[in-house]
Amino acid sequence: MTEVSELAVEARDGTGKGAARAVRRGGRVPAVIYGDKKAPISISIDRVKLRHELKRPGFRRRLYDLRINGLAERVLPRAVQRHPVSDEPLHVDFLRVGAGAEISVNVAVVFVNEELSPGLKRGGVLNIVRHEIEVVCPATAIPESFIIDLEGLEIGDGVHISQVTLPENVVPTITDRDFTIATVAAPTVVRDEAAAAAEAAEEEEIEGEEAVEGEVAEEAAEEGASEEQGEQD
């Protein structure tokens, strides 16, 4: 069952950037409620309270009851616009959720038992292809997360959507292929004893560069070679 929280909001007058900026100057964040074949409502939320909600994991999977002018609206946060530099929330979209509504939502992937994966123990790297999986599910039954067990995974193995047990009525939006969620990639450490030696040589070169000026051309050539080696890091 999807968690339902409450959030204090106020209806706001006016739309557009002028009105939205005025709202932001007042310490609030403009937002909109839309969907369910009803007219959109412009609202605003206290910035501190919104920030607090955003810090709690699963903001976009949590249903909210918003009370505006005495009427309650059950909504699901769909999008949060953020400032590109400060990452402060600038605007929030809420989707009205009617009775029996089905929605597509991104659900986080959680990896467990990393210590039981022989591949990761041997220095393999967990390459997460998808941090979230988009699924279609009833709005009242949004999965909290998908737990993926890494036990027994060797280097070169992968986890695909077919290996994940999905709850009832939950279907991934990508159905035409068995997409990859994560792989255990080969470690870069194994092959790099040679690279480490090259690096040590390179450091010596840099020290030597300060002392001997005559060998500049030769060193440049060597440096070029070591850079190529470095790119493989």
Binding site: P57, R61, H83, P84, V85, A108, I128, A185, D233
Partner: protein
Amino acid sequence: MLSPKRTKYRKAHKGRVHGNATRGTVLNFGAYGLKATAPGRVTARQIEAARRAITRHLKRAGRIWIRIFPDVPVSTKPTEVRMGKGKGSPEYWMCRVKPGRIMFEVDGVAPLLAKAAIARGAAKLPMATRFIAREEA
């Protein structure tokens, strides 16, 4: 070092960096990243230095992504040459970075290690930056 394979023109105008980034402002690959909070020009050499600093601190564990590419040629004039007589020859490559741009991403390592590694990378770059981590959806 990073550089374009081929270019349409050999030399470019100096240019200025105005405004904030509108693209490349959220983490796309890794769980941690380095975001520019001030404008600047990053040279291919600086990108490589930052990449090496991060990779070495991570001891080659995890993965690293570079989200900027130096595609602007910078020309310089030789020393002791009077002004005029045309533009100098291309010497190195740089990219213009706007505030908000994610320059590096890291994944597959512990948060504290990622933060320390990214701080070392940030020290090689010419502008103010900020460490960012992925928030759970």
